[in-house]
């Protein structure tokens, strides 16, 4: 599959006379394949927005190489801009213009036919509120308008920074369905989000960034599998058998964590061995499932941002990872 976005060794250091230099990107790599929804995840201040802004020509990189649709950016941006729709960070619009005015001005600037404005307003559900001033909009409505502005030019690549921010549950589902339908039409979507359940549900692949470096990347299922513990959760038909079962398994050199209503087993190669061993002693299993990590677990583990009781984590406090190769 062709890569729509390729980023290699991207570096960016912000320099401030007062605060000194701050490294936002430290050799960051990223690949987004065509026709996918790609999740771009990272804690606050990890470099997500800097990456997107650099990719879109808003920020100058200190080093690194970037391509969009096979063309080196930022040099080729003017040529490929009509094929890239983007919203970066929170949607900002001129508050006294209506949604229709906002979009029609962008359409004029980009030589997009005016009927397309009504199409995207319909698509994001703002048709009936299109004549109202943006300043009267809720955050969710502004978010919809931002997505509409990104869709206006019918891009091949859609970059959305926190598109679900401020949306109600119905809006989040609509956004998810919209992205799916866009991908089915051949579009590639890059989605930066903090709603990890949403990303796990909708994305085909992910890149996780921490302290300006890539800490994980690949198809969602692979990333989850790589970071799953391989443990198994076992429930017994009779909860009173938990202690006996635990003793039996431990005697067979299985690592067992006893919980009030289940056992958590580690170091088991074949789950069938567990059911057979317990059944031979008259202990019957009612549930046996491999414990898979979810994206939130992986994210917290990789970025070192899991909350610790009594400790107030500060922005930028994440783990450093060594990048191999």
């Amino acid at each position: 599959m062709a890569a729509v976005i390729e980023i290699t060794g991207l570096r960016k250091t912000y320099r401030s006379l007062r605060r000194g230099p701050r490294r936002a990107l430290d050799g960051f790599d990223m690949v987004v394949e065509a026709g996918q929804i790609h999740g771009f995840l990272g804690p606050n201040g990890s470099g997500k927005t800097t990456t997107l802004r650099t990719l879109l020509g808003l920020i100058r990189a200190n080093d690194g190489r970037m391509t969009i649709l096979g063309q080196a950016v930022p040099r080729a941006l003017p040529a490929i801009a009509p094929q890239v729709g983007a919203i970066v960070e929170s949607p900002q619009f001129f508050p006294h213009f209506s949604a229709r005015d906002t979009l029609s001005l962008l359409a004029d600037a980009g030589a997009v036919p005016r009927p397309r404005v009504d199409e995207v307003l319909e698509l994001v559900g703002l048709r009936d509120r299109a004549k109202e001033r943006v300043k009267t909009y809720s955050l969710g409505m502004k978010q919809r308008l931002a997505v509409a502005s990104a869709l206006l030019k019918q891009p091949k690549l859609l970059i959305l920074d926190e598109p679900a921010n401020g949306l109600d549950p119905g809006g989040i589902r609509e956004m998810r369905d919209l992205m799916r339908s866009l991908v089915e039409l051949g579009m590639t979507v890059v989605l930066s989000s903090h709603i990890l359940g949403e990303v796990q549900q909708i994305c085909d692949s992910v890149t996780i960034i921490s302290l300006g470096r890539r800490v994980a990347a690949g198809p969602v299922t692979e990333v989850l599998a790589q970071h799953s513990s391989g443990s198994i959760r076992v429930r017994m038909e009779s909860p009173g058998d938990l202690a006996t079962a635990a003793d039996l398994l431990q005697s067979n050199e299985v690592t067992v964590n006893v919980h009030p209503d289940h056992l958590l087993l580690g170091g088991v190669d074949r789950p069938a061995w567990v059911t057979r061993t317990l059944a031979e002693k008259g202990l019957y299993v009612s549930e046996l499932v491999p414990v898979l990590a979810d994206l939130e677990d992986v994210f917290l583990q990789l970025t070192g941002t899991a909350p610790v009781a009594g400790h107030h984590r500060q922005v930028d406090q994440s783990v450093h990872v060594e990048v191999s190769g």
Partner: protein, 337 residues
């Protein structure tokens, strides 16, 4: 072209542009209406009435004078004449004369297009320059502040052409407003002169002079628009340009005057920005060095320094070029965060 069309729509769709334009038009209308109300065409009847009032005033003053002389002579005769109140000859021979009360003094105000419209062009240019400065600053400053510029750069990722398209649109808009309002301003006062004043002695040369003054006014407004735009673009906020304007007035006009006066710098007005604006409008502006005079020794012809409109154009041009060059440099180099 599509970008220019979009920017033109954006400029005139903005509430601030419309508000400022309405305000300036309202001020111009109030000035024109006040002239209409106060100016009266002076025909033979008005002249006769003025003559009657002049004669009455003369008669009244003559009566006062004669009463004064009578009182003075009576006081002298009684030997109680106060020398502080009464002159030695009781003011004989200094009485009022009819020619001291010309009828013109008693004529109602009559607007003279030929004599007065030049000043009104300056008023117009001043208001237009103010409008151009704040609209120019807001046009780009509010775009930066509201995120509109970032959105636009995502659509047209050519920073300098985008900035220049905005500037070009602004200058085109100011020029169009200046030409249209200037024409209406001229027509309005022409009609005031025609029906409530006088439009005599309007030679082709006089019209040419007004046209040049108008062109200078519009040129000044264009320069102000570009400077306001450049400063707001540099600071990425309208307030940057407005702050710079306040700073220019406080430091450039008041601070510099006080400081240079204290330092006894001769003809310090050459360091004050408004001197160059006056020179631009009046073709030249003369500064006098009265410090070189010793009036106790009699009449003095102070040293002069003439600031020409060409020098003024050079100073304003350098300022404008510097501000725009910095704004373009910042647009090219600075990150959009």
């Amino acid at each position: 072209m599509s970008l220019l069309r979009a920017e033109r729509r954006r400029l005139f769709k903005r509430r601030f542009t419309r508000l400022m334009l309405t305000l300036v038009v309202a001020i111009l209308a109030i000035i024109a209406v006040s002239f209409t109300i106060n100016s009266h065409q002076n025909g033979p009847a008005a002249r006769a009435a003025a003559q009657d009032r002049a004669t009455a005033a003369y008669e009244e003053q003559k009566r006062f004078y004669e009463q004064f002389v009578t009182e003075c002579e009576a006081a002298k005769a009684s030997g109680n004449a106060n020398p502080d109140r009464f002159p030695p000859d009781c003011g004989k021979g200094t009485g009022p004369q009819p020619e001291m009360f010309p009828a013109d003094w008693f004529m109602p105000y009559e607007f003279n297009f030929r004599k007065e419209f030049g000043y009104l062009i300056m008023v117009f240019a001043g208001l237009l320059a103010l409008l151009a400065y704040v609209v120019g600053a807001s046009f780009v400053g509010a775009e930066w502040n509201s995120g509109g510029m970032m959105n636009l750069l995502l659509w047209r990722p050519r920073r300098v052409p985008v900035l220049l398209a905005k500037l070009g649109t602004l200058l085109g808009g100011v020029l169009a407003i200046g030409v249209v309002l200037g024409a209406l301003w001229t027509v309005a006062f022409w009609f005031i002169g025609k029906y409530d004043g006088n439009i005599t002695r309007m030679t082709p040369g006089a019209w040419r002079s007004f046209a040049i003054d108008g062109a200078r006014g519009v040129g000044l407004a264009l320069a102000f628009a570009a400077i306001g735009f450049g400063l707001a673009s540099l600071g990425r906020h309208t307030a940057m340009a407005l702050g710079a304007a306040v700073g220019a007035v406080v430091v450039g006009e008041i601070g510099v005057r006080i400081a240079l006066e204290l330092m006894r710098v001769r003809m310090y007005e050459r360091f004050v920005p408004s001197t160059y604006i006056f020179a631009w409008f009046n073709k030249k502006w003369t500064l006098y060095d009265y410090r070189a005079c010793e009036f106790a020794r009699g009449e003095c012809q102070p040293k002069q320094l003439v600031i020409t409109w060409q020098q003024s154009a050079l100073v304003m041009g350098i300022t404008l070029a510097a501000v725009l060059a910095l704004a373009i440099w910042a647009m090219r180099r600075r990150d959009v965060t």
